[in-house]
């Protein structure tokens, strides 16, 4: 498809859908309704929205959807750290029932017992999976989960009168950028721990920074490298010795389900991205849920309400958090209920044995991929040589770049020609010319092999026909983009109206 921008489809007079009008009897009673708007508050010129018939709007978005490489159509391996797995269709059907879509969040509790039970039970399951004592589903993304954790940290120390003193949060460079950025919003100074030669957070360096100023240690484990820090308990113990709290970034806990838990590793808090580990679809980037769990001691700081059961009915509990130190609220109402519903259905379709199988197969798939890729001459992966990774690996193709000048970004574009995702890394690139791959439990061995063969083919091209890579993509939806305008205020165009102004100028 060579689909225009939607404004280019506009034809004066066309309608996409008709809107109900007030009945004549109503008009007879109240008039046209809009004359009562104070003149200066009335819209003078209709919004410059396009005018398009319904079949054309549909065709436009159908085509755009076909130009989007969702997990439903694609072998998802190339989105390391994102845990893009199969989102079962039955869960979608359930989440589209009017008993969830047509429910208002402020309805009386007696009219929402179904969804409250689902949220309550999911809380119980999350507790078992993590060892924490209470979850909130308000945070509607992983980063908001981290913000919630950072907010709880602050509340905890406010109650203790230590909020001003405890102004540091420690994380690692291979944890997610939001583990630093979200606490920074809450006013924390961020201290990074770099890896030691094995890729583990450097414990010696850690010891030098943990202090009475440490509010919390927030970390992923395994980190983006797929390396698990086996000494994690020593880290959390040390923080606790100094009176700090420990928050576990389990956005991606896919390799650990039923194998190990936040509690045993000494964490006071953790969060799970239901849209990663628990299979709810990513929706191009949300809506989502960063289910956040805490120990009993920290429960009172959570945003209200929590969901509870009194033996006969489920209810919104405002009591537990009814104290001046509760963080109040992080998102309207009680989060994204359909996402919780889908995660509930997923758990119920797997049980503890299935979750364990998920973790084992995710790790099996990853180590299989790891082994096969390491057999390729130009691929390497820093740290713990010869040992296992958990659910993902950050590779480097520095050798290929040195040999050919082709960068990981070039390879990325070329992979699109084969309909494959391929992700490099968060910035900055601590690992040079990185690739981050995470197969999850969804691909079959054949899928893994196909992905490996494609990578090999492209690496080979880099040596034998580098031009085809430099000018890639050739068979994707569009060709190589000139990104120069995107950082130039005089040229960037974030909306069509802005594009028209600037391209005319």
């Amino acid at each position: 498809w060579d689909e225009p921008i939607i404004f280019e489809l506009s034809k004066k007079g066309e309608r996409g859908v008709l809107v109900p009008k007030a009945e004549e009897e109503i008009t007879a009673v109240v008039g046209d309704g809009v004359s009562k708007i104070p003149q200066h508050m009335r819209r003078k010129k209709a919004a410059n929205l396009p005018e398009i018939s319904q079949p054309r709007v549909l065709r436009h978005y159908m085509r755009l959807s076909q130009e989007t490489l969702g997990a439903d159509v694609n072998i998802e391996i190339g989105q390391g750290t994102c845990t893009v797995k199969y989102s079962p269709k039955v869960n979608e059907l359930l989440a589209r029932l009017p008993q969830i879509t047509e429910v208002h969040p402020l309805q009386d509790e007696s009219t929402v017992q179904g969804i409250l039970e689902i949220m309550y039970k999911t809380d119980l399951y999350m507790r078992e999976i993590s060892g924490m004592d209470r979850f909130t589903f308000q945070p509607s993304g992983g980063s908001q989960g981290i913000l919630t954790i950072a907010s709880v940290v602050r509340a905890y120390f406010e109650e203790r009168g230590e909020a001003d003193k405890r102004d540091e949060i420690i994380t690692t460079i291979y944890s997610h950028p939001s583990d630093a950025a979200a606490p920074a919003v809450k006013g924390y100074k961020i201290i990074y721990i770099h890896p030691d030669e094995n890729g583990h957070p450097d414990f010696e360096a850690f010891k030098t920074v943990v202090s009475e100023r440490t509010a919390a240690f927030i970390v992923a484990n395994p980190e983006d490298t797929g390396v698990y820090n086996p000494r994690i308990k020593e880290f959390t113990n040390l923080v606790h010795e100094f009176g700090g709290l420990c928050g576990y970034d389990q956005a991606n806990a896919n390799g650990l389900l039923g194998v190990t838990r936040a509690k045993e590793a000494g964490f006071d808090m953790c969060f799970f991205n239901l849209h990663k580990t628990f299979s709810t679809p990513h929706g191009c980037g949300g809506p989502a849920t960063g289910a956040t769990g805490v120990t009993k001691e920290l429960e009172k700081y959570l945003p209200a309400p929590l969901i509870d059961y009194d033996g006969s009915k489920y209810f919104l509990n405002y009591e537990i958090t009814n104290n001046p130190y509760s963080i109040g609220k992080v998102r309207l109402f009680n989060g994204v209920a359909p996402v919780v519903l889908k995660a509930y259905a997923w758990i119920m379709s797997l049980g503890s044995e299935g979750l364990y199988e998920v973790a084992k197969v995710a790790v099996l798939n990853n180590n299989y991929l790891f082994k096969k890729l390491m057999e390729i001459d130009c691929v390497d992966a820093p740290y713990i040589k010869g040992k296992q990774r958990v659910e993902q690996v950050r590779y480097t193709i520095k050798k290929l770049t040195n040999d050919t000048g082709i960068t990981t970004g070039d390879i990325q574009r070329r992979m699109m020609d084969f309909g494959m995702h391929y992700w490099t890394s968060h910035h900055p690139y601590y690992v040079p010319e990185p690739i981050t791959l995470e197969p999850t439990e969804t691909p079959s061995k054949e899928d893994l092999d196909e992905y490996i063969e494609t990578l090999k083919h492209v690496f080979n091209e880099a040596y034998e026909n580098p031009e085809i890579i430099k000018t890639a993509p050739h068979r994707s939806v569009c060709h190589k983009i000139d990104e120069s305008s995107l950082d130039n205020p005089d040229e960037w165009a974030i909306t069509w109206r802005s594009y028209l102004k600037k391209s005319k100028a």
Binding site: Q54, D72, E102, G351, L486
Partner: protein
């Protein structure tokens, strides 16, 4: 004790034991237990987690969940007048068709090549909302309106270097709490009172509280209590006079008939996309947007992703990409970027785009008009009931309004319970958040309410207050 797995599971191709053996062999391992060798034994679970048994078939799972959900009562079987941040509007079928397309539903972080469609759809959503609010910049959506408002005032604070934010007393308490948590500890929210007669922002109080410490004045139109805030221009003027930024929160369903805030001085506009094609979803349909002028000082303060259109090496072809990526926490600066970015509610952004493209200018205009007519009709009819004031304030309402039940001698709680028995969900009880109103409730009337529906409400209210 050993831990058991679930073999041959439909969601997990490689749960087939024979395949596992083959792959383990490749790795030189003998069993799945030998994986996770990097995790110390003392951290490992020794038996299966204590969870309910998995359903052994998709059918049983579905029947179970459907049974649970059947315990919910919907706003389709019942007549709903709750709004207060989540509104029941009509969702055109095409919106659901597009956002349930597997490709959009399961896409995530692809590049502008393989996810060209995602980039274009979100660029178009930005462009469509931009027309509605008459601004040049709109972001990829945030979690909800409060998040958008909180970020808007943080942007204002960074731009002005100031720390105080003025907000209306007459705003949603939930939103206030979210903004407060997100802005703390460094920003302070200061509440500005409202006029007792009109509900409008009290300009005298505003002038008293504004100062050269004020980063932003935040207000809403329509207000949380549903009426049109008429002094937008004056408020913005007062803010600008003091070097503060005017931030306006807006319900986009009103913008077919109400002036966009950019016309009365707003520098930053925010709001919720939920009315534009999202089902209520028990609160899961919220999605916040932020809009500004196309000025570098604003653009560079957005924490969100901003998709821009760009040329490709083929003449006339459109490509897309992230504008000023390095501002974000995904860029090189991490926590020194602007706040943070992550998964928020992109699918609702795409849906809002579909909605606006489908509605067009005429649809949005008619929508606004219908809502105003129907809500005015409801106010009028309710006012005819003895003991009830259809609207506590004498300002013009858009789709919500405060119904005053004080003279009925009944509490809103009682009234709502009785209405519920008649299949009606009455408005949000304001007695806790606005004790000064006594027994009042916030009612919401939209295009989905027919005259018959409203008449049914009026009859029912009349009955229950006399019970």
């Amino acid at each position: 004790m050993a831990i058991n797995g679930f073999k041959n599971h439909p969601y997990i191709p490689n749960s087939v034991p024979e395949v596992q053996e083959e792959m383990l062999r490749e790795l030189g391992l003998n069993s799945l237990e030998e994986l996770h060798e990097e995790i110390p034994d003392e951290l490992k679970l020794k038996e299966n987690m204590n969870l309910p048994k998995a359903f052994k078939s998709e059918y049983e799972l579905r029947r179970h969940v459907e049974e649970l959900l059947s315990r919910n009562k919907t706003c389709k079987e019942n007549l709903n007048f709750l709004g207060a941040g989540c509104w029941q509007h009509y969702v055109p079928a095409i919106c659901d068709e597009i956002n349930s397309r597997g490709e959009f539903l399961t896409a995530y972080g692809g590049e502008p090549y393989n996810d060209h469609g995602r980039f274009q759809a979100l660029f178009e959503y930005q462009s469509l909302v931009a027309e509605l609010v008459d601004m040049d910049i709109v972001n990829v959506p945030t979690m909800d309106w409060p998040q958008a408002a909180a970020t808007s005032v943080r942007m204002a604070s960074r731009i002005t270097g100031r720390k105080e934010i003025l907000v209306p007393r007459a705003m949603d308490r939930e939103k206030f709490l979210i903004m407060k948590n997100y802005c703390g500890p460094d920003l302070i929210l200061i509440e500005v009172d409202y006029d007792k007669e009109t509900g409008q922002l009290d300009l005298v109080d505003l002038k008293n509280k504004i100062s050269n410490k004020t980063a932003a004045v935040y207000f809403e139109n329509p207000s949380f209590l549903g009426f049109i805030e008429e002094n937008g221009q004056k408020i913005s003027y007062i803010a600008h006079e003091m070097g503060a930024i005017s931030v306006v929160g807006v319900d986009p369903s009103s913008l077919g008939v109400l002036a966009p805030p950019s016309e009365y001085g707003a520098d930053i506009i925010c709001g919720d996309l939920q009315p534009l094609g999202m089902h209520m979803n028990y609160g899961g349909g919220q999605s916040g947007f932020i809009a500004t002028r196309d000025e570098e000082k604003y653009v560079m303060e957005f924490p969100s992703r901003l998709f821009g259109i760009a040329p490709t090496c083929v003449d006339g072809e459109y490509g897309f990409g992230d504008v000023a990526y390095d501002r974000t926490s995904f860029g090189h600066h991490r926590e020194h970027g602007k706040e943070y970015v992550g998964t928020q509610s992109a699918l609702w952004g795409i849906t809002a785009g579909v909605y606006l493209a489908t509605m067009g200018p005429k649809g949005m205009e008619e929508l606004g008009q219908t809502i105003m007519q129907k809500s005015q009709y409801a106010i009028k009819r309710l006012s005819e009931i003895k003991g009830i004031k259809g609207s506590l304030f004498n300002s013009i309402s858009f789709k919500e309004f405060v119904v005053d039940f004080n003279e009925t001698g009944k509490t809103v709680k009682e009234i709502n319970r009785l209405l519920m028995e008649k299949g009606i969900f009455g408005g949000k009880d304001l007695s806790k958040d606005f004790p000064e109103f006594g027994q009042s409730a916030l009612y919401c009337v939209t295009e989905i309410h027919t005259k018959t529906d409203i008449d049914k409400l009026v009859t029912a209210v009349e009955q229950v207050i006399n019970m």
